[in-house]
Symmetry: C2
């Protein structure tokens, strides 16, 4: 194998192990053994476990950011629901590693890992703004979008802790939460209320946003 | 000064410094100088900066958890609004230290600091459940409360980044967000819809939850 090929293979093996168990519990010996090479050879390609962890995390981050990309066609609620499905696919595939990373801790709290987490959050933020077709977001829209992203993260972490709620329900709920947080902000601010109206203009009554309104009205009566 | 008295004084001085700047930027020399003692004497009481940081964080955590305590009387929305005011007071007083802590990083991502953050989240969670008078929370209620707590954290962090929205607006908005997230969950689940009805039973039409409904109805018309 060439140098770059071997590096990529090691990153893949490491990502697989770091996804299934907390990175604290994965040793270089284990990575070497899973890759079918010697421990010194691992160190030949990566100076230590942290650099291999960061390379694996970079690959996972690129993978997750790619899943946010959604064509700008059709109602917004349906687009967001498709993205939520792909997000939960990712969380499902990388459960223990995702939990360990997002909960922080000595093995994962490096400057590089934090920068990678931030870059994924920024990719999610920019994707949502592009779908809302808002080029210069007012500060309250920024708040709604960024705080909803953190809500999606914490919802996924709580789901991973025992998987006690079907993920399909949480995917739909997060889409509804986005509309609800935007509506609360719109109740406080005229500019947000115009953005909310534009956002809901092309919604299908049978789509996720339409369903939410129907269900909330049923609750109120 | 006695040993315990000196320790407490150092913790107070350190907390003050760690609150105003990122803990990474605060040196032991600076803490010694602010406390009016020598650097070796600081090390006599605390083996290193991390142990002093953890002691300061413990004091701040106890302080924050104490601010969550609210008498169980009057409408829920008004109680939650008072707690949000005290939460933003805390965030205001400890801004840079709070940001650095919650954003993680090498200096603050120890097992002890993560356990302290979790203990404050748990205190917030238990307080809210006690106000809802739910002893054995269904899993969907747990999700709403815990994910709302993370929403409050991220909202506070975004507020600290430039303070571009008046904090009073965000305090009211977070109370509204709680009702909105509970309503979304209630739209998916019968048990949650009963909890929501019980929660809103004694609300004042002029209180925060009543205001939200009025504003949302105005948006819809």
């Amino acid at each position: 194998m060439g140098v770059e090929e071997r590096r990529q293979q090691l990153i893949g093996v490491a990502l697989e192990l770091f996804s299934r168990r907390s990175p604290d519990e994965v040793s270089i010996d284990e990575i070497a053994s899973a890759a079918g090479i010697s421990r010194p050879l691992v160190y030949h390609y990566f100076p230590g476990k942290l650099s291999l962890y960061e390379a694996a995390l970079k690959r996972a981050s690129d993978d997750l950011a790619a899943r946010f990309v959604e064509p700008p066609t059709g109602p917004l609620g349906a687009r967001l629901l498709r993205v939520m499905r792909r997000f939960f696919d990712f969380v499902d595939e990388h459960g223990p590693g995702f939990s360990a990373l997002m909960r922080g801790g000595p093995a994962v709290g490096s400057t590089t890992t934090n920068a990678l987490i931030d870059s994924v959050r920024q990719a999610a933020y920019e994707q949502i703004l592009s779908h809302l077709e808002v080029a210069d977001p007012p500060v309250r829209l920024e708040l709604v979008v960024r705080s909803w992203i953190s809500l999606a993260e914490s919802t996924a972490l709580i789901w991973l802790d025992g998987r006690r709620i079907p993920r399909e329900e949480l995917e739909a709920q997060l889409v509804h939460d986005f509309a609800a947080l935007a509506a609360v902000s719109a109740a406080h601010d005229e500019e947000m209320s115009e953005i909310l109206r534009a956002m809901l203009r092309y919604e299908d009554p049978e789509g996720p946003f339409g369903q939410l309104v129907t269900r909330l009205l049923a609750l109120a009566t």
